[in-house]
């Protein structure tokens, strides 16, 4: 449903309606946790309006599973991303206003070798959204070459999901070397890996960001 909406179809965007579910159905709430901020990707990337029930669904997911103290950086950032997306669809404001809670830590982006950094970032690709300033995006902005190397590594290993996630971050990051050939790489990843809806989602999101940046 999310991929369909990103491709320009599926109007109006209605996540719950598409699965004939209720916003308090535990299975649906858990599924939204997996999508993270991308539950609203059609809204944050294509300007679609969410239904009230979908907003309630994401609110429920955010409230039901707050990250525990000492949670991994990945789950803390995923939670942060959902709150930011929720804030954005409620208010239309580009940036997050997340109150007094401290932001999750970003030190690993600078300290991890490029291989592990890319792997972890690809799991947080839902936060790679144009016009969404975040401490995470600011940390990524300092390592565009290393992220590009991780993208090459993932494509060489045919790890399409990791490559798609890395490609999405590259699409919203300045300073990516031109010789990387990102657009051709995204096309290849889609061609080879889009049978996995998660790959299709990341590639389409990356391409929308690229189109927005060039036009």
């Amino acid at each position: 449903m999310v991929v369909l909406a990103l491709r320009g179809g599926g109007d109006p965007f209605d996540l719950l309606g598409s699965v004939l579910s209720r916003s308090d159905d535990p299975a649906t709430v858990a599924a939204v946790r997996v999508l993270g901020a991308d539950a609203f990707a059609p809204c944050t990337l294509r300007g679609k309006t969410p239904t009230d029930a979908d907003v309630a669904l994401v609110e429920g997911a955010v409230g039901a599973f707050p990250p525990k103290p000492g949670a991994s950086s990945a789950s803390a950032w995923s939670h942060w991303g959902m709150r930011a997306a929720l804030h954005r669809v409620r208010t239309g404001a580009p940036g997050p206003d997340l109150g007094p809670e401290p932001d999750p830590e970003t030190g690993w982006v600078a300290s991890e070798p490029w291989q592990r950094m890319t792997h972890q970032l690809s799991q947080l690709a839902a936060l790679a959204v144009p016009g969404l300033p975040s401490p995470l995006a600011a940390a990524v902005a300092k390592r565009p070459v290393d992220l590009a190397r991780g993208f090459v590594r993932a494509v060489r290993r045919r790890d399409w999901l990791q490559a798609a996630g890395a490609g999405r971050w590259l699409a919203v990051t300045e300073g990516v070397p031109a010789s990387l050939g990102l657009d051709g790489g995204l096309d290849l990843i889609h061609h080879m890996g889009a049978a996995d809806a998660r790959v299709a989602l990341q590639v389409r999101a990356a391409q929308l960001a690229r189109e927005g940046a060039s036009g």
Binding site: P113, Q115, V152, R153, V155, R156, S179, L180, G184, G185
Partner: protein, 330 residues
């Protein structure tokens, strides 16, 4: 393509920041790989030799030119770099003497091939490293000049990186190049600086050979055009990790040579540790993973190339590591 501004070959920039936080590689480890490889090559030198009795087919003789050529090219590098120590220098000199006198019969084997195939570039490619070290054969030189005068010689169809190599060989032999080096470089895969994620196995070898030819086998790292050096600085770390992870020591060795040819070599400690650990106790380097069991006579054809490359990578990296130790950091 623009050439890198000529910096003195004796004072290249020091190695750049390492991709990982591992401590820098020790010159001793780099040196040990080369010393072991050289011992194995010297101990097994007779296997380079082509059988040339009356019953030997031309095809069989022809097949021996590849290892002999690689021995000549890399033997010249080892001799030139002179960082291997005086004991190693003596071993290299004896190995090259043996290759010239016994394997190539003082150049007669090259003249034999020229008579059979006047347009073959192989005799000149093999001859030039020996010529530069003072080994001469007038017949080989005369026939090479004759062939170079033909349009057919310059029109011969060959892979772009081979054509580039031949242009460098012609220049080194004192002959006019069949094609301008910059133009020949532009026609190679690497010269186009394509998408780095498309570099499969055979392309990776095209890349290494383009660098070998452009730098005269590491003798002139400053001859690497700036755009190519910049491109390699970006993507070589990925390829090194890629081929180290599948334990392809032959290709990894060539990529480590390329690294040592860059303005800011990384001398990647993790890759070098893996590479050194892959070497057999007798000094032989496997092509990939490990060598099949057997004595050197059985495994020579598998082992000689990766072992020559190991000696090559070792001297190049040792040379750069020593430079980094002696040149103060900016």
């Amino acid at each position: 393509m623009t050439s890198r501004p000529s910096s003195s070959p004796t004072s290249p920039p020091p190695p750049g920041p390492l991709a990982t936080s591992a401590p820098p590689i020790s010159p001793q480890l780099l040196h040990r790989v080369g010393a072991g490889a050289l011992e194995w090559l010297a101990a097994n030198r007779t296997h380079f030799r082509a059988r040339t009795d009356a019953s030997t087919s031309a095809l069989e003789i022809g097949e021996r030119f590849k290892p002999i050529g690689e021995l000549a090219v890399i033997g010249k590098v080892l001799f030139r770099e002179g960082v291997a120590g005086s004991q190693q220098s003596a071993i290299i000199r004896k190995l090259l003497d043996y290759a010239w006198r016994e394997v190539l019969d003082g150049g007669e084997l090259l003249a034999w091939l020229q008579r059979r195939e006047p347009l073959s570039p192989i005799p000149l490619e093999l001859y030039v490293p020996f010529q530069e070290l003072g080994y001469r054969n007038q017949e080989v030189e005369g026939r090479a000049r004759l062939a170079r005068g033909l349009t057919s010689w310059t029109a011969l169809e060959m892979a772009p990186n081979r054509r580039l190599g031949l242009a460098r060989v012609e220049i080194r032999a004192g002959l006019p190049p069949s094609i301008e080096v910059a133009e020949a470089a532009r026609r190679t895969w690497l010269g186009r600086t394509p998408e780095p994620w498309t570099a499969v196995y055979h392309i990776a070898y095209d890349v290494t050979h383009t660098v070998f030819h452009l730098t005269d086998w590491g003798e002139h790292p400053e001859a690497l055009p700036t755009d190519i050096a910049d491109y390699l600085e970006l993507w070589l770390p990925v390829w090194i990790e890629d081929w180290a992870s599948v334990e392809h020591w032959d290709l990894l060795g060539e990529l480590l040579v390329v690294d040592a040819c860059l303005p800011r070599p990384t001398l990647d400690p993790a890759a070098w540790q893996l590479y050194a650990a892959a070497q057999q106790p007798d000094g032989a380097m496997p092509v990939q993973r490990t060598l099949p069991p057997g004595d050197p006579a059985d495994t020579f054809d598998l082992a000689y190339h990766p072992t020559l490359v190991a000696a090559f990578a070792s001297v190049m990296a040792t040379s750069r590591a020593m430079t980094a130790l002696t040149v103060p950091q900016p």
